[in-house]
């Protein structure tokens, strides 16, 4: 159930991203909502379901772009894997930590994406600026997304405090 909620939230965030694009908000100001969800999953859904969900969210983003299928999925898997294994040693209760983790995750995800899509897409300085901007924007929305998803996790009886990764995985 909570994963369904997560998927629904992800679709909503994707729609918001689309709306922001359509109203002419610059790309570097648009947060990567799906990546925030993936980071949340890495910390609070350490399980096979979490991996699959991260992959699906990446695939969702890939499909929404309609150009390449796979790079974002791969990128999100990497982000998930890194943060999932880090989650056992990292507390994300503090807002600053949440934001920092999401910012790092966004940059990491972007780099992995650029590496995977390297054959298709050349990298320019502008891409890096966009990536940094998106990292900050994602960090800004991270507390809100975390709060929304935490509520769904709590409702399904999963603790989202302390070392969430260990607790939720079991």
């Amino acid at each position: 159930m909570r994963l369904l909620v997560c998927f629904f939230v992800a679709v909503m965030l994707l729609s918001i991203q689309g709306i922001l694009h359509s109203v002419g908000v610059p790309a570097w100001l648009i947060p990567q909502g799906l990546l925030v969800c993936v980071v949340f999953l890495a910390f609070y859904e350490f399980s096979l379901a979490g991996v699959v969900m991260a992959f699906l969210l990446g695939l969702l983003l890939d499909m929404s772009s309609g150009v390449l299928l796979g790079p974002w999925a791969g990128s999100y898997i990497i982000v998930y894997a890194i943060f999932a294994f880090l989650s056992q040693r990292l507390f994300v209760e503090s807002v600053v930590v949440k934001m920092s983790v999401v910012a790092v995750g966004t940059i990491l995800g972007g780099i992995v994406f650029l590496l995977l899509a390297f054959e298709y897409q050349s990298v320019s300085r502008e891409d890096l600026v966009v990536l940094c901007g998106q990292a900050l924007a994602s960090a800004a929305v991270a507390p809100v997304v975390f709060k929304v998803l935490s509520r769904a996790w709590r409702r399904s009886g999963v603790s989202v405090s302390g070392r969430a990764g260990i607790v939720s995985a079991v």
Binding site: V11, G18, D62, L68, I77
Partner: protein, 293 residues
Amino acid sequence: MRREISSKTHVGLACLGLFTVALFLTAYSVKNPALARVGSALVLKCITPALGAADTLRNHASSVWNGYINLIGTARQNGELRAELQALQSRVALLGEAQRENSRLRELLKFSSERQLHGVTAAVIGGDPSGWVKGLLVDRGSTSGVAPGMAVIHPQGVVGQVVAVTAYSAKVLLVSDHASGVDVLMETSRARGVVEGAGERVCELKFVTKDISVKVGEQVITSGMDGVYPKGLVVGHVAQVGNSSVGLFQPVEIKPSVDFARLEEVLLVPSAASATGAAVLNYPAQGVEKGGE
């Protein structure tokens, strides 16, 4: 502990596996872009309602905002346009008035050139302030060459005679005034007489003997014998013929051809009498200024 390690292994393996799938998908979709497009259509279908709703909301908000801004602008613009409209309306009225005046002056000019009358055109600027004398004030005086005794005429007919002149205005005694007199001819019978004022819009034709047949509607024209009015100008027409048993002359009522109440421009024509004053008038010339003589 073992369970935890097992979970980590599963997650790690899953990550590895799915990353491999992602790599494979990426490589495959680079060669077959159609694959990416298939999924894209599906996702678009999912997010289109949200985008559509947001777009509608945005358009609505935009229209409300623009409407509000426009409303402020419209109020100001409305005021400006009203002021402009008012200015234009008064300008149109002025132009219309100028056009009508132009038309009347053309008529007057045509009339004077047809009759070979050389005079001064003047605008009527008022009536007699006392109300006892049927007269007009015109805006030309001695500086324009106006002199007492000049005939005042209009394309419709005879108006009267200048009786007093200042530098920039002149007083005209209408033919309908009791003190006025015009030597006239009956158009058909050619009988002579004198038209004198008898009321507001009525004159009396005097000295027409009873043996002369006078018909109602017959025109009365100036004879030119009084030395004031040129010959052949219409004075009016016979409105009524009385049958008095006493006296030599028959009473004839004349209706002046000019509507004195609607006169706006007149032509002041010099006459033989203008140099010496009102020749055939009982009315004494007054207010004659130096320049007017």
